[in-house]
């Protein structure tokens, strides 16, 4: 049966193929078979003029006592989370919503999921919907996997019989058959996540709303999840997918939308929207409130990053030349100073660091008022993401004698397409057929 939607999907997947997207060689079917009626309308989700504002009380009155004893109207400021948002998602589409924190993307997803009510505007949908704002919502730690699958299934709109009949498939995908009668409190976090992801794909809804739940479990399970996402992408199911991760947007989404301050900033091809997101992110990223030392004997007078041309930058493209500079000023006399910096990524991992002082590359002694200037090139192998720069100074080249320690003197963003890992190492790997 060739319907307009399958034709669109087919056209998209061939287009996707030209971009070298991952496609499993032998399609394994994990999804339950879904009888989707012949689409009388190619639109699955229609959002028209949706507005949402939150009233954030400057002083939250949440007790009756306060309400009765406060005579003035409670003060609040209005946060416009969504302003006049209208868009359509076609049936069978894998649709991405991207945006920075606070752009309104989660609010939009919650309105689509009927968790929040919109202030105005209209949302229409064709088909049953299952929201996945978080994996494993409503799991009861005191119950076994068997009972949880039933409870969770009913919560997502399945009948009890349906939910029970899916138990086998859910456990098989999650590879948890042996643990069916184990209470969830005894599950490891990896097992929980697998069970939850498995529930999600068995939910049998025509429309899935997914909020950043990718990359769960170990490597082999992640591959299985990726296969499922590819399968969903090419199926008749409609998916709205909210994420920060541009590589998964490019990998899975047919189209995407960029939200910024509650408005639609870009809409269209996934690659283009992902590029717009990265550009927006680096243009607007704040330099961060640098903590310039304290009451220490040495203060950090200045710290900066510069590009290859020597102009100061707050953000750098992946792999581009990166120079670092700092100026310290001594307030008191400091004997045998050592200086150190380290770069910490968003996960709190110290990716790299360097120190000066032990090998005689700084003066043996700083007089009060004297300044030391450090500068030089850093090999930029940092993976895209946000980094925070830490700084410390010791006296007498001894780690015990800390004179300055600042956990956050500078932060910056490396932008570009993300690959695996925390650093990008040069490689010269080639493929050759054995025996030739």
């Amino acid at each position: 049966m060739i319907t307009p939607a399958t034709a669109i999907a087919a056209a998209r997947s061939s287009e996707a193929g030209s971009l070298n997207r991952y496609a499993p060689p032998t399609p394994v079917t994990y999804l339950p078979s879904l009888t989707v009626p012949a689409p009388s309308n190619p639109i699955a989700i229609e959002v028209t003029g949706v507005e949402k504002a939150f009233r954030i009380p400057t002083h939250k009155v949440d007790s009756l006592k306060e309400r009765l004893t406060t005579f003035s109207q409670p003060d609040f400021r209005v946060l416009h989370a969504l302003r006049d948002v209208s868009f359509e998602v076609e049936r069978g589409e894998f649709f991405g919503i991207v945006g920075r924190n606070g752009s309104g993307k989660s609010t939009l997803l919650k309105i689509l999921a009927s968790i929040y009510a919109a202030d105005s505007g209209r949302v229409r949908m064709a088909g049953r919907l299952a929201p996945f704002i978080e994996l494993g919502v409503g799991f009861n730690q005191e119950l076994t996997a068997r009972d949880n699958v039933e409870l969770n299934g009913v919560m997502m709109g399945l009948t009890r019989r349906d939910a029970r009949s899916r138990l086998g498939a859910v456990l098989e995908f999650a590879e948890l058959e042996e643990f069916v009668d184990l209470k969830l409190k005894n599950y490891s976090s990896g097992m929980l996540v697998r069970l939850a992801f498995s529930m999600m794909i068995q939910s049998d809804a025509e429309i899935l709303l997914i909020d950043e739940v990718l990359a769960v479990g170990d490597a082999s399970f992640q591959q299985k999840c990726a296969d499922v996402f590819n399968e969903i992408r090419d199926s008749e199911r409609t998916v709205v997918f909210v994420t920060h991760d541009m590589s998964s947007v490019e990998q899975y989404c047919h189209r995407a939308m960029l939200l910024h301050d509650g408005r639609i900033e870009a809409f269209g091809e996934a690659d283009e929207v992902a590029r717009r997101y990265l550009r927006l992110n680096f243009e607007q990223a704040p330099a961060g409130d640098s903590d310039m030392g304290g009451i220490a004997d040495v203060t950090l007078a200045d710290v900066w990053l510069e590009n290859g041309d020597g102009s100061r930058i707050t953000n750098v493209e992946k792999g581009a030349a990166l120079r670092f500079g700092a100026v310290f000023e001594a307030r008191e006399e400091v004997e045998g100073p050592s200086f150190g910096f380290s770069f910490v990524n968003a996960d709190g991992v110290e990716v790299t660091g360097f120190g000066l002082g032990l090998s005689g590359d700084v003066p043996d002694r700083l007089e009060p008022g004297q300044r030391v200037r450090l500068s030089g090139e850093i090999e930029n192998r940092l993976a895209p993401g946000r980094y925070v720069v830490k700084c410390w100074v010791h006296r007498e080249h001894n780690y015990a004698n800390l004179v300055l320690h600042s956990p956050h003197v500078l932060d910056f963003v490396v932008f570009g397409k993300a690959d695996a890992g925390v650093v990008a190492l040069d490689h010269e790997i080639e493929a050759r057929v054995d025996g030739s």
Partner: protein, 283 residues
């Protein structure tokens, strides 16, 4: 359901509500959540059921001792000990249902903020769980009735009417309290005091017949009093037990009680319905 052709049509999404999501789903979810909670209390520990029965029984033992040995209430009314246990168990249901419901929506914050389902399930599941407990405790009450030689009467068959009246009132109160507590977190604290006041303002440990006339009329305006008094009349045959109208000294207190009863029910439904769409935002 997904195979219905109608599912392919665009339909307006109305947002979160007290009942939204289909009647079928509502009752299935209500049943599953209450059974889950019930199982947790009774089968979670080896002595689960014993412990949960111990509470009313211990309370019963203490009150029985105090009110038969110290205050000599036992002579005022036939089968005082059975009446006392029956009343404690019945009020225990109201107490468990309402006190449990007050914080229930806050307690379930995780699912309220993350998924879509009929909000009304939350407080009603608490009431249903309390109803299961009441069912188990009633077995013990009937055993006591047998042991103490209470004559079975045909009016025992009317007990479901009492239960229904109490169930509706408890559910409405549960809805009202659970919705209000999201907005005003001290409702839970206020309810502890109010519930205790109700405990003493309802003829539970004392028979209505020993209450002075003037005060008796006031007590009758408490909607729980006519329910408990009627239960007394129907469960334990005793010519000394006053009928509702006699005890109230005229229809006025009964009308007041009925008005309060209806008002609480209407208010409960109205407030919960009004708050349901915004509950997720206010948590």
């Amino acid at each position: 359901m997904s195979t219905e052709p109608a599912a392919a049509e665009l339909r307006e999404v109305s947002g979160p509500s007290a009942l939204g999501g289909g009647r079928h789903r509502f009752f299935e979810l209500l049943w599953l959540m209450s059974v889950t909670e019930f199982k947790k209390t009774f089968f979670g520990t080896v002595l689960g059921y014993v412990w949960s029965l111990m509470r009313p029984l211990m309370l019963f033992a203490v009150l029985l001792l105090v009110f038969t040995q110290v205050f000599k209430l036992g002579d005022e009314v036939a089968h005082y000990e059975v009446l006392l246990l029956f009343n404690i168990v019945l009020f225990g249901f109201f107490q468990e249902a309402t006190s449990g419901a007050v914080g229930s929506v806050l307690l379930q914050e995780g699912i309220v903020r993350k998924t879509q389902f009929p909000r009304l399930v939350i407080p009603l599941a608490v009431v249903l769980t309390a109803l299961f407990t009441l069912g188990l405790n009633m077995i013990v009450v009937f055993v006591f009735m047998f042991v103490f030689g209470v004559e079975p009467v045909w009016t025992w068959l009317l007990f479901p009417v009492i239960l229904l009246a109490l169930l509706i009132f408890s559910s409405a109160t549960a809805m009202l309290l659970s919705a209000l507590n999201v907005r005003f977190r001290d409702v839970a604290i206020i309810w502890v005091v109010l519930a205790t006041a109700l405990n003493y303002g309802t003829p539970i440990i004392y028979p209505l017949s020993i209450v002075p006339e003037g005060l008796k009329h006031v007590l009758m305006a408490n909607p729980l009093t006519p329910i408990f008094q009627q239960a007394h009349i129907w469960m334990i045959e005793d010519p000394k037990t006053e009928g509702l109208l006699t005890a109230a000294g005229g229809p006025l207190p009964l009308i007041v009680a009925a008005v309060i009863y209806v008002a609480v029910c209407v208010l409960g439904v109205w407030v919960f319905n009004r708050e349901a769409p915004r509950i997720a935002e206010q948590l």
